[in-house]
């Protein structure tokens, strides 16, 4: 994999993590004051049309919309950050864009440890919790006429 592809895939990872994050947790991990920045696009609430595919793999169709908030900004250092986050959180989108910008600067390692890793850990815990509850409801159905193999 080229380093550019690696960079893109890493950026996709953190942008997705920030989009899915709970706004309250992000605010706790990134308290005010935020680093100086100028807004290129002020946080704006809108909708994205979510598509599915007929039969899961066939032609796409419009399922319905979801709310999102987007924001673009530039740090004093010149780094530009973008965010499109789920829901109607202007503050959420602004913080996510700040993190995206910081991750392209020399502060990346610190931001990763202070913000991204706790977010990823919280997400992983929530996902594991759901998967464990699902696993506890896994069933084996037996047809009554079948003799069980010894």
């Amino acid at each position: 994999m080229s380093s550019q592809a690696t960079d893109t895939s890493e950026r996709q990872n953190w942008m997705g993590l920030l989009a899915r994050a709970k706004a309250t947790q992000l605010a706790e991990l990134m308290p005010d004051p935020l680093p100086d920045h100028s807004l290129l696009r002020a946080p704006e609430i809108g909708a994205v049309m979510v598509r599915g595919r007929a039969g899961a793999t066939g032609a796409p169709f419009n399922l319905g919309e979801m709310t999102v908030t987007r924001c673009s900004l530039r740090l004093a250092s010149g780094a530009v950050g973008h965010a499109v986050v789920q829901g109607r959180g202007r503050d959420h989108a602004r913080r996510a864009a700040v993190v995206d910008a910081l991750m392209q600067t020399g502060e990346a390692a610190g931001v990763r440890a202070r913000v991204l890793e706790p977010l990823a850990a919280a997400e992983e815990t929530a996902r594991r919790d759901r998967a464990q509850k699902a696993a506890a409801t896994k069933v084996e159905f037996f047809t009554m006429v079948r003799g069980e193999d010894k």
Partner: protein
């Protein structure tokens, strides 16, 4: 023609003030928070998101509170709010094969690879009222078993290998969007799926039930029903690549239907498809049955005149906001219309009376 009326402002204001008081109910009882609705009436929230066609748990909870639990009124509020939102883009089609499943069952394959997972279901409950819920008890705790969140392949993909079931070949035709352009008939399958996905659950349920009772029978089995969280991805022009913009809960149903073959196709199973926002399985199963019934022409089946085969009938009557808007508008003042009707009936009666007099005279 509808002619507007003026007046009644004070009565209307007072009616709305009383509505607000009634909404609150007895002030001696604690007020319901939208967070409580979101967490504890989640299936109502899911229904409002599906039919409001907007995935936002908090907005749906607010709409339910404002509508005093009238879910169609809540759907109406969500649809109205949605029109105020700028469209930030269109997602890539969601990858339901990558779903983190909390429920996944098959009525056709006992030993479905990946296993059957019941999830938080009403199935197998006794439907007896649980009076312990009237008391404030401790929060119940679900049991856990060791697991790693991992993708579970679709069951139809196993049947596909033998050519036993029709394929859903990959296709990237951009779908029409009935929130942007008026629906055209005959409709594409993409338009039908969008209309059914946001259609009234009760209407879609009854249409599906009618096919099971013999009005356009399709012999459906639930090949797979899955519920879980799915990432939503979107291409962002400023970035030049796609990013995940959130995760949503979806319910997906694939039916496996009998098909005796046609001039061009050998006998094989065919499929119906249902997909809805949230845990919403009655709607999703019903959607897949109605989708399959509407495919009769494409599959070379006979049109028997069944309502569920009639695309215009299904699509033009599925939307509960349109339906309730037209239905309920007849209660609003129609004084001028009715005045003209009165005059018409009086005139007709006078003419009948006059001709009777004349006949009597002759």
């Amino acid at each position: 023609m509808y002619v507007a009326v003026k007046g009644g402002e004070r009565a209307i204001d007072n009616a709305h003030a009383w509505l607000a008081e009634e909404r609150r109910g007895d002030p001696a009882v604690a007020e319901l928070t939208t967070a409580q609705i979101r967490e504890q009436l989640r299936l109502a929230v899911n229904r409002v998101m599906a039919e409001g066609s907007l995935y936002d748990l908090d907005l749906a909870a607010l709409a339910i509170k404002q509508a005093r639990g009238d879910l169609i009124e809540a759907v109406f509020l969500i649809r109205a709010y949605r029109t105020t939102l700028p469209r930030h883009g269109v997602s890539l089609p969601v990858e339901t094969a990558q779903m983190a499943v909390t429920r996944r069952i098959s009525a056709t394959f006992k030993d479905a690879p990946g296993g059957q997972v019941l999830g938080p279901t009403f199935d197998y409950t006794h439907r007896l009222l649980d009076f312990t819920l009237e008391a404030n008890g401790e929060a119940p705790v679900a049991l856990r078993a060791p697991a790693m969140a991992a993708a579970v392949p679709h069951i139809t993909s196993f049947l596909n290998r033998d050519g036993m079931i029709e394929e859903a070949p990959h296709d990237d035709t951009p779908p029409p969007d009935l929130t942007r352009e008026p629906m055209e008939l005959p409709a594409s399958r993409a338009t039908r799926l969008q209309a059914i996905a946001r259609g009234d659950e009760g209407f879609i349920l009854s249409m599906a039930y009618s096919t099971q009772r013999g009005y356009g029978r399709t012999h459906a089995f639930v090949g797979e029903l899955r519920i879980g969280m799915v990432d939503v991805e979107m291409e962002v022009p400023e970035l030049g690549f796609a990013i995940c913009i959130g995760e949503i809960e979806l319910t997906e149903c694939e039916t496996v239907n009998q098909f005796k073959g046609s001039r061009t196709e050998p006998p094989q199973f065919t499929r119906g498809y249902g997909l809805t926002f949230g845990q919403n399985e009655r709607k999703s199963i019903a959607m897949s049955l109605v989708d399959r019934a509407l495919r009769w022409k494409e599959l070379g089946e006979d049109y028997t005149g069944a309502p569920a085969q009639d695309e215009e009938f299904v699509l033009m009557h599925a939307d509960n906001v349109q339906a309730t808007g037209f239905l309920e508008h007849i209660k609003l003042p129609h004084y001028v219309d009715f005045q003209s009707e009165l005059e018409l009936v009086r005139k007709l009666r006078a003419e009948v009376a006059a001709s009777a007099m004349q006949e009597a005279a002759e």
